[in-house]
């Protein structure tokens, strides 16, 4: 509390009292409204001169406020809000800076010169809302096709294809689409030739065996050396954030499963933590432990996919088969518990869908006993292989400072020596009760990122073992009217409960107005859901902060000067999935 008040005092003393207005939110994150004119000044103060400083631009998003049912916060009617989430590692605190904007297509200063990772975030806001950032070096669409009409996250933009009228592709439109697909290096800020060489442009993807999905990378090559590599994303964009505005709070859960599609229920957790903050639900201990256990299973499953495909990218064909076999064993357990496998959609508001089945403990115990020796074998097979080392050591290096500048979280950050793990630093869902280590490495190259992930699997197993031994008794859902589906036990006794139950089942729960952000340590880095509710049956705005987005943005920075073969090491070491980038 001291640090918090000292921040506002500090801002008071530097900029004067009128520069910001404070807002109180249910997630107890310090939230300040500032005006666009002061934006650059205040943010650069927070990043550079404030002590301790807010070094990480965690997220940047916008909200279309024009159809808001109830005004929240202390700034009255305005059309758009830009929200900056900053993180200070020293304070271990987030800070939310909000800027209110007026007008149909407003603009504000760009902060891309302040934080390197603001570049893509601002492009995304421009793409989704049509808000312009002046001073931005390359403000063009990032997720939507270049020929798209309208800006999808604006409230007037339809959310369903059926609202848009039938699709027609007449000749001129086809020509226009084809024209937009023509590759012109200048559009990407690439020169065709240097003083002594003509560059070769290699279009890697969106269909390419090494990109793990529909990712396109435009390579500017001098021989096999990469002069520049520009990722072109958006091929996997499914409008997950827009869907959040039309689905009810409850029926949105399955969509979250598919954001980081290797993370399974871990996505549910990130979403539900934010919903539960808004609804004020405290979940029972048993729910917390069940959730943690399944999340850690999915962390192992996700890391196994990464491990195998990474080795395969480097030409080692066999490990991926062994690792997928082990992943199947995890999925067998997940299936026994949840019924589903990759996308179990099993967590619910205020709990989980069902209690653990009979015999779950033997399944888990078998796996805990079985898996460590597999990890040792994989370690000998992959990590100790000298060719593997030759391909990964010293490749794609970045330092802690660079990582923070680009918004890197998760194993990528820990591989350069920073032991930052949200499970330890800002424990959620009861992680504070578990005994585990945060693996780190020092060099920040592809090999170290692998070392961190491999060790993380052992730590996850340790957590699962503790879940197994200390599973608390109790209910699998909290006794709160907003849980989904609500508990039915008292509905036949009194009419009030029956009515609430009926409404919550038919409409879905009505979550009180407010805003909240969750932050979890997902498989690939920090994953957050920033939810705004205007007291309705669905969210007013769902913002999904995914780790892969900033990681992919860093690709040009860390791959320049390496070769095409190294690019595959860098991509493999990064561990991204396209749905996690594009949402």
């Amino acid at each position: 509390m001291n640090i918090e008040s000292s921040l506002t005092d500090n801002l008071d003393s530097v900029f004067g009292e009128t520069v910001f207005t404070q807002q109180f939110t249910v997630d107890e994150m310090e939230t300040l409204w500032i005006s666009p004119e002061n934006l650059i000044l205040i943010l650069s103060h927070l990043k550079n001169t404030a002590k301790p400083a807010y070094k990480l631009l965690y997220d940047l998003c916008a909200i279309d406020e024009r159809t808001h049912a109830k005004t929240t916060g202390s700034v009255n009617a305005h059309d758009f809000t830009i929200v900056y989430h900053l993180l200070s590692f020293e304070r271990n605190k987030f800070l939310r800076i909000k800027v209110a904007l007026q007008g149909e297509y407003p603009s504000l200063p760009s902060i891309s010169s302040l934080w390197s990772n603001a570049n893509w975030y601002e492009r995304e806001v421009y793409d989704m809302f049509g808000i312009k950032f002046h001073g931005h070096p390359n403000l063009r669409r990032i997720l939507m096709p270049l020929t798209w009409e309208g800006h999808p996250l604006r409230k007037e933009h339809p959310a369903r294809a059926t609202e848009m009228g039938p699709f027609r592709l007449w000749d001129e439109k086809e020509d226009r689409e084809q024209e937009a697909l023509q590759f012109k290096p200048e559009d990407w800020g690439l020169k065709r030739r240097s003083e002594d060489a003509d560059f070769m442009f290699l279009n890697l993807g969106p269909q390419h065996p090494g990109t793990h999905g529909v990712l396109r990378i435009i390579l500017q090559l001098d021989g096999e050396d990469i002069v520049d590599a520009i990722p072109d994303i958006g091929f996997h964009h499914r409008g997950a954030e827009k869907m959040g505005e039309r689905q009810s709070w409850h029926t949105y859960i399955p969509y979250t499963d598919r954001v980081d599609y290797l993370g399974g229920v871990m996505n549910n957790l990130a979403y539900l933590l934010a919903v539960e903050k808004l609804a004020g639900i405290n979940v029972p201990e048993r729910v917390k432990v069940i959730r943690i256990m399944l999340c850690e299973f999915f962390r192992i499953a996700s890391h196994l996919v990464w491990y195998g495909t990474f080795a395969q990218d480097l030409g080692q064909l066999s490990p991926v088969f062994y690792m997928f076999t082990d992943r199947e064993k995890i999925f067998d357990i997940v299936e026994a518990i949840c019924g589903g496998r990759m996308h179990p959609n099993w967590f619910r508001i205020g709990g989980v869908a069902q209690d653990l089945p009979k015999g779950w403990d033997t399944l888990v115990a078998d796996f805990v006993a079985y898996f460590p020796k597999q990890l040792t074998e994989y370690h000998n097979m992959v990590m100790r292989n000298s060719i593997f080392k030759a391909r990964t050591v010293g490749i794609g290096i970045y330092s802690v400072e660079e990582a923070i500048e680009w918004g890197v979280t998760g194993p990528g950050l820990r591989a350069c020596g920073m032991d930052w793990d949200f499970r330890k630093k800002q424990p959620y869902s009861g992680y504070e009760n578990f005994d585990f280590e945060i693996p780190t490495a020092q060099n920040g190259d592809c090999f170290d990122r692998a070392v961190v992930r491999v060790e993380e699997m052992r730590q996850s197993l340790k957590i699962i073992d503790q879940c197994l031994k200390n599973m608390p008794e109790g209910n699998y859902k909290s006794d709160h009217p907003l849980t989904t589906p609500p508990l039915k036990k008292n509905t036949m006794q009194d009419i009030e409960t029956l009515i609430t139950h009926f409404l919550n089942v038919s409409w879905g729960p009505v979550i009180p107005p407010g805003e909240a952000m969750s932050c979890i340590e997902a498989t690939k880095g920090a994953n957050s859901y920033y939810l705004t509710s205007d007291g309705n049956t669905s969210a007013y705005r769902v913002r999904i902060r995914t780790p892969s987005f900033p990681h992919m943005q860093m690709l040009p920075y860390i791959s320049k000067g390496y070769t095409v073969a190294d690019l595959l090491s860098i991509l493999g070491g990064m561990d991204y999935v396209l749905a996690d980038i594009d949402r």
């Binding site: 070769m200 290699l202 279009n203 390419h208 065996p209 090494g210 096999e224 080795a311 395969q312 990218d313 480097l314 030409g315 080692q316 064909l317 066999s318 088969f321 062994y322 076999t325 097979m381 292989n385 060719i387 593997f388 030759a390 391909r391 070769t563 095409v564 073969a565 190294d566 690019l567 595959l568």
Partner: protein, 318 residues
């Protein structure tokens, strides 16, 4: 007249046998990989899936014969035949058993080296004619890899030539009657094996096609039987290198009398073919420049050193 007819018959039988075995190797490789990778592999067509080869061949033959419109058509068509042709030509000098060989040339070893050098044209021309950037990168990688590994492939064999005093392969085999050359030339064996893997561009030396980087490298644009030629050329190459290893270092057809010489030869060759497959199952792929560095900075000096010592010892014994 009869002699000529005999040779023609022998060549016809060899061509048939070699291509059949090469095609069947595809089945063997897939089954062995599957075995080592905890899967089943092709097991549907015929007993143990053996007919998968026939099915694959039929499929390849009946695929649309497609030449990309942007390709250089003549070279595009010729390129795949070169690899299959040069490898098959090399088999001319391989002594399978006493009497079972097409030509007992007195420069047999040089003929083998010459033919394997020609094979690189297939990759370079194929990659060039495809007019595709991935193919071009693959072709460039292939050219530099094969040219550099050729150098010490030749050098590593000179020790064997010194010991046997001949380039004729039957002489080399007969010179191993007391002991196999692997005993005195282990370094040369290792270098030749590595260079041989590089010649056939198999993992870990498959950088010309490196599927996770270059899609399919130099043969990205090929389909149907033209792709089939590259494919069969690769497996013929495996057989060739394995049989050369056996001939040069493991006494060729020589072996105890209870089995006929040809059986010994085939058995030994299959051991090395399996080694090739095992390598593919287990090793990752080094980077292109690492491969070059490894070749020029380690293997070349080693080959020269081996040559020097072998020469010195040979002179001293004399």
């Amino acid at each position: 007249m009869n002699e000529t007819l005999g040779y023609v018959l022998l060549i016809a039988i060899m061509l048939f046998t070699l291509t059949t075995i090469a095609a069947w190797l595809i089945w063997l490789e897939r089954r062995m990989l599957a075995l080592w990778q905890d899967r089943y592999g092709p097991n549907r067509a015929g007993p143990f899936g053996l007919l998968i080869v026939a099915a694959d061949t039929i499929k390849l033959f009946f695929k649309e014969d497609w030449i990309p419109p942007f390709a250089d058509k003549k070279i595009f068509v010729v390129a795949p035949t070169i690899i299959a042709a040069t490898v098959l030509m090399s088999f001319v000098i391989v002594p399978f058993a006493p009497g079972i060989l097409v030509s007992d040339m007195n420069v047999g070893l040089l003929f083998f080296l010459a033919m394997s050098s020609l094979g690189v044209y297939s990759i370079v021309l194929g990659g060039w004619a495809s007019n595709n950037k991935y193919s071009l990168l693959g072709a460039l990688r292939g050219a530099s890899q094969m040219i550099s590994y050729e150098v010490f492939m030749g050098l590593s064999l000179m020790g064997v030539v010194m010991l046997s005093g001949s380039f004729r392969l039957t002489d080399i085999v007969m010179a191993q009657e007391n002991y196999w050359f692997i005993v005195t030339q282990p370094v040369a064996f290792v270098i030749f094996l590595i260079a041989g893997i590089a010649e056939t561009h198999r993992l870990p030396f498959d950088i010309p096609e490196a599927e996770s980087e270059l899609v399919a490298g130099f043969h990205s644009e090929y389909s149907g039987m033209k792709f089939g030629m590259f494919f069969i050329g690769e497996y013929l190459g495996i057989m060739l290198v394995s049989s050369m290893v056996v001939t040069l270092f493991f006494g060729g057809w020589l072996g105890p009398d209870f089995l006929p010489p040809i059986v010994w030869f085939i058995l030994k060759t299959f051991v090395f073919i399996l080694l090739f497959i095992l390598l593919r199952a287990s090793l990752p792929r080094p980077r292109y420049d690492q491969l070059m560095e490894y070749g020029w900075k380690i293997l070349l000096p080693l080959a020269l050193l081996n040559l020097l010592i072998t020469g010195a010892v040979a002179l001293w014994i004399k």
